[in-house]
């Protein structure tokens, strides 16, 4: 029963996110432009950031501002499952799109006799998937706190801070800040001998912490049509 609910929520989110003409069209245009860029630069282009922001923005906040969430929570739906479903839906949708784009790029490069080794393509897909699920967890957390698409704006604003402020707050703090906003696992840097356990734990602790905070914030939310 619980998996059926989870699946229904994920499919509903996919439909809502990918079948909107504007956003779906933008995603497709962006994927094809990345494939063209790969042909020009002769290397794989990672489309993960823009796609995650396009598809992941307002995953919960849009439901609040459009009035869907108060209606949804009148049903016996466990709120933590709702948050997890949103995260999984955004993460899986962007991962599939990114993987297809990277495979398309690899194909284009191979046809131009600039073939990228299969291991490199696999590592790029792995890194993209980890980045997608990492950034999605942060976006879901922000989206629970803010309505509509303000989560993406907050993410963009906060990611500029370390670029400007690393001279004032120190390199280490700026790096940790960046690692929080952009959790990612690079295959060779993480899993080649010796395994970089700090990277592994940093990534998974950021993801679980963001999801935890998102669930706790949703649990505290009092929703009604009157509260807007």
């Amino acid at each position: 029963m619980s998996f059926a609910v989870l699946r229904a929520l994920i499919v509903a989110t996919w439909r809502e996110r990918l079948l909107r003409p504007l956003f779906g069209g933008l995603c497709l245009v962006f994927c094809f432009s990345e494939i063209s860029a790969a042909r020009l630069t002769h290397e794989l282009q990672d489309p993960v950031l823009i796609l995650t922001l396009l598809i992941g923005a307002g995953s919960v906040g849009k439901d609040v501002s459009s009035g869907v969430l108060p209606l949804l929570f009148t049903r016996p739906l466990v709120r933590s499952r709702y948050v997890l479903a949103k995260w999984l839906a955004v993460g899986s949708a962007v991962t599939v799109l990114t993987a297809l784009t990277l495979l398309g790029e690899a194909l284009v490069l191979a046809r131009a006799d600039l073939g990228v080794p299969r291991a490199e393509v696999t590592a790029a897909i792995f890194q993209s998937a980890s980045t997608v699920f990492g950034i999605s967890s942060v976006l879901v957390f922000f989206s629970v706190l803010l309505s509509s698409f303000a989560d993406a704006l907050l993410w963009i604003g906060l990611s500029v801070v370390p670029q400007i402020g690393h001279r004032f707050v120190g390199q280490r703090i700026a790096e940790e800040w960046q690692a929080f906003l952009y959790p990612s696992l690079e295959w060779s840097a993480t899993f080649d001998h010796p395994v970089a356990w700090f990277r592994v734990f940093s990534y998974f602790s950021t993801v679980t912490l963001c999801l935890c905070l998102a669930v706790l914030a949703v649990n505290r939310k009092e929703l009604s049509y009157a509260s807007g």
């Binding site: 016996p76 060779s188 700090f198 679980t208 999801l211 706790l216």
Partner: protein, 173 residues
């Protein structure tokens, strides 16, 4: 549904909370361990000093590593690239590696920093053997990006010198 039998929809995410706490503790622990066990200075690469004149006389491209002891991304690059046997072997086989530490205030180090206009750390510069344009990589975005930079720098075609014009009549003067 009978009164009192309803499952709370706001259940505390206990499993997620425990997992987050355990991972956070592991993160802090490994962070402290990494800080107390820094990689060997210089990693596995055979670095030359900036004033090593023989560095440019081996017919290999020269890899300059502009870094500093206080720079965290430099330390990460040290740990993940220069202390990695595969990467170190690639560098030693294909390049003459020269480290220019920020703490090094010798005339040679200053001249190299000025010549390559280094204003951020870490910066890698590959000076091809001969007359080619140097290639550079600023910042550290993971081992993969450094490795592909090093491979691209090797694959880059060396510009060929144009043939010297015939100096006819030179002997006549």
């Amino acid at each position: 549904m009978r009164p009192g039998s309803a499952v709370s929809t706001r259940g505390r995410p206990t499993v997620l909370l425990v997992l987050a706490a355990v991972l956070l503790i592991a993160r802090v622990g490994t962070g402290i361990y990494d800080a107390r066990h820094p990689p060997p200075l210089g990693g596995l690469v055979k670095w030359r000093a900036p004033d090593d004149a023989a560095a440019t006389a081996e017919g290999k491209p020269v890899l300059y590593d502009f870094s500093a002891a206080w720079c965290e991304p430099c330390k990460r690059m040290e740990r993940e690239v220069f202390a990695n046997p595969e990467s170190a072997a690639l560098i030693d086989a294909s390049y003459v590696a020269v480290r220019v530490a920020d703490e090094d205030q010798s005339a040679a180090a200053k001249a190299l920093r000025a010549r390559h206009r280094v204003d951020s750390l870490p910066t890698l510069v590959v000076q091809p053997a001969g007359e080619g344009e140097p290639r550079r990589l600023e910042g550290y975005a993971g081992r993969g990006s450094v490795r592909s930079f090093l491979k691209r720098a090797l694959e880059a075609k060396q510009p060929t010198m144009p043939p010297l014009p015939e100096l006819e009549g030179r002997d006549k003067n």
